[in-house]
């Protein structure tokens, strides 16, 4: 009896960890997409997550949208907001061939600005999504599985399947991959780079929007919810910068480790342990899980 309960405990935590990791993977892959093309850590991604979480919330609350339209609305909002951010904040730096640090500073500023927009319109108070799912959980062999967690995994799986297809077979997707390899050469090959960068931000924003709505449903809504983007940052570095698969793997690992740490030692000290694990990992395997080492210079 003792053995089965330990087993079901581990399975339970694995399920929780994988579903949390799935949402982190959505963040991390969106984060990594922009990193691959423009080679900077785009923290404004967090702002996009926050805005779309609130847009989805407004849709569900005021338009009484059911589950799927809410998810779609948030996702689309993310894409639109990210495109606007690219157009307003990053385009002119790119045109002037500004250094990477300017992108970085701008992205942090955009995160703060988008957060502040939420504070201005909604105040610093907390909100919860209306009940969009009827039954909250079911039990399989002593393991209780929340429907929301299933939803997270399904959403992530669908999103990644569509993304993988788009990157491999559509013209824009192929151009995004080419741009990740070398932006200048892609331009020389006659590809409209401005459009491709905008498209990259749009796709990355779609992922941010989806993760935003899911995070909003899983937790409460507050203006700083977008700061969860750092989970994507951690995951994409652990996974190996320059690799989308690596980012997703890093996110899954991060989700599982986090859930276990929180059950074992509580939410308080787990950041300290995650930090130590992260530094050790970076020292042992600086190229990340995927092993694609991204080079700044030849």
């Amino acid at each position: 009896m003792e053995g089965t309960s330990t087993f079901s405990f581990v399975v339970q935590q694995m399920v929780n960890g994988i579903s949390l990791g799935a949402v982190y993977a959505l963040i991390a892959v969106g984060f990594a997409l922009v990193f691959n093309v423009l080679k900077f850590s785009n923290f404004s991604h967090g702002g996009v997550i926050g805005i779309s979480a609130y847009v989805g919330f407004l849709g569900a609350l005021h338009l009484h949208l059911p589950l799927l339209p809410t998810l779609l609305l948030g996702t689309l909002a993310g894409g639109v907001v990210a495109s606007v951010v690219e157009f307003l904040a990053f385009r002119s730096i790119r045109k002037k061939r500004g250094q990477l640090v300017y992108f970085f500073v701008t992205s942090v500023t955009m995160l703060m600005l988008l957060e502040q927009v939420l504070v201005i319109f909604f105040g610093a108070s907390f909100f919860t999504y209306p009940q969009l799912i009827r039954t909250t959980s079911f039990t399989v062999g002593g393991v209780s599985i929340s429907i929301l967690y299933i939803l997270m995994m399904v959403c992530a799986a669908v999103a990644f399947a569509v993304l993988a297809w788009a990157l491999r077979y559509t013209k824009v997707g192929i151009a995004i991959r080419a741009a990740s390899n070398d932006l200048t050469t892609t331009n020389l090959m006659g590809v409209n780079v401005d459009f491709i960068v905008l498209a990259t931000f749009f796709v990355s924003g779609l992922l941010a929007g989806l993760s935003g709505v899911l995070l909003g449903m899983a937790y409460t809504l507050y203006p700083q919810i977008g700061q969860l983007v750092v989970k994507g940052f951690i995951a994409s570095v652990l996974g190996g910068l320059g690799s989308l698969t690596g980012a997703a793997m890093g996110a899954l690992a991060l989700g599982i480790v986090e859930v276990f740490l929180i059950t074992v030692m509580g939410a308080g000290l787990s950041p300290a342990v995650i930090f130590v694990l992260m530094v050790v990992f970076l020292l042992v395997r600086p190229q990340g899980f995927a092993g694609v080492s991204f080079k700044e210079k030849a």
Binding site: I93, I120, L241, L269, A272, V276, V279
Partner: protein
């Protein structure tokens, strides 16, 4: 204490913290998202030493800075060998870890409720003296051979190493200097606000310091000081619209980065030599010197 003096002391403390970021990010090109954590270490260690262990204030500040240097050595030694992005991530993780420890060790630090009852020992004069000393220190580092080596590392690390500069060694020293300055600023702030809490030292604080450096211009020490002064006083000036002030602040920074990416000051430095050099060529040497002296006096009076 009048309102303006209070704002002035806060600004002085912010400038000392920003100077650490200036050396680190402006001069050497390292992005640390954990600088505020060093400020937190300085604040907590000095406050604990004075309140709980009754250590005299000056000794407590020195011990707090030494403690931060020790931690900084450990963090820097392990993380500065890895790539830049990883360094930003590692320092970020360090900052959050420090905050987690502060939140959790309720018995010592009061946890998330904060640590109150610190005596107010940072006088305006002390803050002013500390500010002058910090500016003097950073200015000398910037113009020394060491500072130029750091600039070379920022510009091209590989080329700098080929020229015989030990990049890792330089980065570690710069990181320690930054950590020490931040811890010092933290100790001063703890004994001015008489209260510390973990929420003051998150990664966004570190990011704000980086933003201040870029606002003024990362190649200009004058610019960094100007950026710190303006951006820490700006929220006070914009108090009439408290909800909008952070948004306005962000917009100003976005405009500057987009339209004047080198920062407001670019490479320009406030210098007395520069002022005297600006006179037209052909002016008599003696007359020129008198004029320079007069201008120097004028500049002093302005300051």
């Amino acid at each position: 204490m009048s309102y303006f003096v209070t704002v002035g002391v806060f600004t002085a403390i912010t400038i000392i913290g920003v100077l650490g970021t200036f050396i680190l990010t402006g001069l050497t090109g390292l992005f640390s998202l954990g600088q505020a954590a060093f400020m937190g270490l300085g604040a907590y260690v000095s406050a604990l030493l004075v309140v709980t262990f009754h250590v005299p204030f000056p000794l407590a500040v020195v011990l707090a800075v030494l403690f931060a240097l020790g931690v900084g050595y450990f963090i820097g030694y392990t993380t500065l060998k890895i790539r830049q992005d990883f360094f930003a991530l590692a320092t970020f993780g360090f900052g959050e870890a420090v905050r987690a420890v502060m939140n959790e060790s309720v018995k010592w630090t009061g946890g998330a409720m904060g640590f109150a009852g610190v005596p107010q020992l940072t006088t305006p004069w002390l803050a002013a003296a500390a500010l002058i000393a910090a500016v003097w220190l950073v200015r000398n580092v910037r113009y020394s051979k060491f500072g130029r080596d750091c600039l070379a590392i920022r510009t091209d690390e590989l080329a700098a190493e080929v020229m015989g500069i030990n990049a890792f060694d330089h980065k570690l020293k710069v990181f320690l200097l930054g950590a020490g300055l931040s811890a010092f600023a933290g100790a001063l702030s703890a004994f001015f606000t008489t209260y510390v809490e973990p929420a003051m030292f998150g990664w966004t604080q570190s990011a704000v310091w980086i933003i201040m450096v870029f606002f003024g211009g990362r190649d200009s020490l004058t610019g960094a000081i100007f950026g710190a002064t303006t951006l820490s006083a700006l929220p006070e000036v914009l108090r009439f619209a408290s909800q909008w002030r952070v948004a306005i602040y962000c917009l100003i920074i976005l405009l500057i980065i987009n339209f004047r990416p080198a920062g407001l000051f670019g490479r320009w430095e406030l210098s007395f030599k520069g002022l005297s050099r600006r006179r037209p060529p052909g002016a008599g040497a003696g007359k020129g010197r008198r004029k320079a002296v007069a201008e120097k006096g004028g500049a002093d009076a302005d300051a």
